[in-house]
């Protein structure tokens, strides 16, 4: 009996963790957006915050940037993901793509963005490789490649991280869509690989990954850390400007920031509606398109290399970017256009050693705490309701779809009122809101795939539910639990906005340290912190993948494949 109560309590606690902070945060933003924030003297409803927002000369550009970069990054990421799967599913190369996914997913957005910035900057490896023989450049050209006013670098930085995410979600959806056999049937009917997949499988896959796509769209429109590193600066994106007002010493700007946050939320809702409408329109058109019978066999010759090229480009760009970060952190003198620094030194690393360890420790502490709570809640929720209803499923995505910048400032106000802002515990709980969905989603499929007859066998041998859970189910799912833990840890390490706003500047992690350097020109220092930011989750991922192999080295039945 106790077991059932604990599991049910965990289920409800998980739902509260997912929804309460978001709803409270939104409430804490909507008030000030209309002038109501007693702590700052706002006791009357007014439209002054909106007048302040409208008076900001960058508003039109910021709105355009949010919409264009968000929709473009999402459309591009989805198109590339579908192309890669359509063109290469079921081949040996595709296996390699799936193996490269885990490290790409563990990589924080900001680290990937820094790597990309280093790679494509006028003084980056691409320019160096082409200079001076092809470009004639003897010194870095004065070009605005990173921080370009159109936000293209920002779009690129989002795409390299969102394609791996959507690929993972697609891979999880493929078994339910019977994709390999459907593609085979289409090919037997004379269709090309890509065309057959797009007509026979893609509609089902897109329906399955609708919520992840919405999360990508909302994230791309409102991201702060990637925009600080790669996005335009004059004016910046709306989300960056809201953060600027929120953290401004002039507290009166908080009202304007809140109005901006509500506007950002409205923009995301409008874009989601637009996307949904377009999706329905395309779905209707695709019926005719599929029924027309064009086989598209010749298209494979173009589209298959294109898909492979896209996957390779993402992998190489991220890989070279990270290598560049690592090299810069050790670089002594490094003249343009030399491909390699003249001297290597540990100078920056030694200089940072004193701050480095405490920050790493705090990062790991917060990430471990959030991950452990998320694991416990996910296990309890899955025990209580292995197959939750539609609304519970949608709730899992709530913190991923409501933009962080729209509700975290409100949540930070509540933390301030409760006097818990700036404490590691509050930051850990704020991280939990975003760690929980990923841990739950990673764990849910293997949890449901577990052979329940093992549990029945154990119960028929006299084991109570609690004993079945602890001695049979959890040990048998060790690998899945560790992967979920690694995903949770990486998610926490990557959090910028929750750490900054709930931590009130008093809790620093490798990510807040690294992103704080975005506007500085100190490549070596950025290199050190970005390398730490990528190394920490990667190390945990490697550990979590290696541990089951070690634990169960004498248990053949616990291996996969």
């Amino acid at each position: 009996m106790g077991h059932t109560y604990i599991a049910r309590a965990g289920f409800w606690a998980a739902l509260i963790c997912l929804s309460l902070p978001v709803l409270a945060g939104l409430a804490g933003v909507i008030g000030p957006a209309f002038g109501y924030l007693p702590a700052l003297g706002g006791t009357e409803i007014s439209l002054a915050p909106w007048q302040g927002l409208l008076a900001w000369p960058g508003l039109a550009d910021a709105i355009r940037l949010s919409l264009v970069t968000g929709l473009l990054a999402t459309a591009l990421s989805l198109a590339l993901t579908l192309l890669i799967v359509a063109a290469w599913q079921g081949t040996r190369s595709f296996l390699w793509v799936t193996r490269a996914l885990a490290p790409l997913l563990a990589l924080p957005h900001a680290a990937a963005a820094f790597g990309l910035a280093f790679l494509i900057a006028p003084s980056g490896w691409i320019a160096r490789g082409l200079s001076p023989w092809a470009t004639g450049w003897e010194r870095p050209p004065d070009l605005l490649i990173v921080h370009d006013p159109l936000g293209l670098a920002l779009v690129a930085g989002l795409v390299v991280k969102e394609v791996p995410f959507l690929l993972l979600m697609t891979l999880a959806a493929l078994p339910q869509t019977d994709s390999l056999r459907s593609q085979l049937v289409a090919r037997a009917l004379g269709y090309g690989r890509v065309m057959g997949w797009m007509k026979a499988v893609a509609p089902r896959v897109i329906a399955q990954i609708r919520l992840p796509i919405y999360a990508v769209l909302a994230y791309s429109m409102s991201v702060v850390d990637v925009a600080l590193i790669l996005g335009p600066t004059r004016p910046p994106t709306l989300a960056v400007q809201i953060l600027d007002w929120t953290t401004h010493p002039d507290l009166a700007l908080r009202f304007q920031a809140a109005a901006g946050a509500v506007l950002q939320l409205g923009l995301v809702i409008a874009a989601l509606g637009l996307w949904h409408g377009a999706e329905r329109l395309i779905a209707r058109q695709s019926q005719h398109w599929a029924a027309q019978g064009a086989r598209g066999v010749a298209l494979d010759r173009v589209l298959r290399p294109l898909g492979a090229g896209a996957a390779l480009l993402i992998g190489v760009a991220v890989g070279l970017g990270l290598a560049g970060l690592l090299l810069w952190s050790f670089a002594g003198l490094w003249r343009f256009p030399a491909l390699w620094p003249e001297t290597l030194s540990l100078r920056i690393w030694t200089a940072q050693a004193a701050t480095l360890w405490p920050v790493l420790g705090m990062t790991a502490l917060i990430a471990s705490g959030a991950t452990l709570i998320a694991l416990a809640l996910s296990i309890a929720a899955l025990q209580a309701r292995p197959n939750p209803g539609r609304s519970a499923k949608a709730l899992i995505y709530l913190p991923l779809i409501v933009p962080q910048i729209a509700f975290l400032p409100g949540l930070a106000s509540f933390a301030l009122m409760l006097g818990v802002d700036g404490t590691p515990t509050a930051v850990t709980l704020a991280h939990l809101v975003f760690v929980l969905p990923y841990v739950y989603l990673t764990l849910a499929d293997p949890w449901r795939a577990w052979d329940t007859r093992a549990g029945l066998s154990a119960a028929s041998l006299g084991a109570r539910p609690m004993r079945v859970l602890w001695t049979i189910r959890l040990p048998m799912l060790t690998r899945a639990l560790l992967v979920a833990a690694a995903v949770g840890f990486a998610t926490s390490v990557a959090q910028y906005l929750p750490t900054l706003l709930i931590g009130a500047g008093r809790v620093t992690t490798v990510t807040t340290e690294a992103v704080a350097l975005a506007s500085s020109a100190n490549r070596r220092l950025i290199g050190v912190w970005a390398v730490l930011q990528m190394a920490l989750p990667m190390a945990v991922f490697a550990l979590c993948l290696a541990l089951p192999a070690l634990l169960f080295r004498d248990r053949h039945g616990m291996r996969i494949g």
Binding site: D451, R453, A454, L456, S457, A458, A459, S460, L461, G462, A463, R464, P465, V468, T471, I472, P475, M476, T478, F552, D554, R555, H556, G557, M558
Partner: protein
């Protein structure tokens, strides 16, 4: 004293699936045969208290005079063997057997070793279950079930995956030990040879609605 099914009925939604009133004596093997989908395995799930939610059951199950109809699986003292042996892959052979042994048992290692010896697997305690042959795994699964001191045994096509030579030997192994402990046994099978080897009453189940459609 035995396993008594009083007017047991199982529905899937509104469709009646099984209706059975029967008593299985100690040491007797009751065999249930029938086409797939007639509800044989569903009945076994109902007997151990693990009926999937789409099904509904009425009636009473009594084991040695105890009414166990409403008891949770772990408290019924009914063991079950599936077609796959379901040895726990993360535990050694010895730990699998130890899992079945009641908590209060003294000299656990000795009891486990004796069970292994009885199964012709002396010295296998530290082995990884994945390294065992099909017949060895079935024997370990049976010994694990018997060590839990059940009062009844259910067999869900337990020999279906073994080749025919091994199957005869495994039948003998299972039935002998069930009889020696005077356990009432219910077996579900597709195989007529299984049924005759069991030497007990045979009930042929059918799916009534489908029959009418033919």
């Amino acid at each position: 004293m035995s396993l008594n099914l009083h007017d047991l009925r199982i529905w899937r939604g509104d469709r009646p699936l099984i209706s059975l009133s029967r008593s299985v004596a100690k040491g007797e093997v009751l065999t249930l045969m029938g086409p797939s989908g007639c509800g044989k395995s569903t009945l076994l799930a109902g007997l151990i208290g693990a009926l999937p939610p789409v099904f509904r059951m009425q009636g009473q199950i009594a084991l040695n005079g105890r009414d166990i109809t409403e008891l949770p699986t772990h408290a019924r003292r009914i063991s079950i063997l599936f077609q796959d042996d379901i040895l726990f892959p993360h535990l050694s052979v010895g730990a699998n057997l130890g899992f079945g042994l009641p908590r209060a048992t003294r000299e656990r290692a000795r009891v486990v070793d004796a069970a292994l010896e009885d199964a012709g697997l002396a010295g296998y305690a530290d082995r990884d279950p994945a390294t065992l042959s099909g017949g060895q795994r079935t024997r370990v699964a049976l010994m694990r079930a018997l060590l839990s001191e059940p009062e009844a045994l259910l067999l869900d096509e337990p020999f279906a995956k073994l080749d025919s030579e091994l199957r005869a030997a495994m039948r003998r192994f299972v039935f002998e030990r069930a009889r020696a402990r005077a356990l009432p046994v219910i077996m579900v099978t597709h195989d007529m040879e299984d049924a005759t080897a069991a030497g007990g009453p045979i009930i042929a189940l059918s799916s009534p609605r489908e029959d009418l459609d033919d």
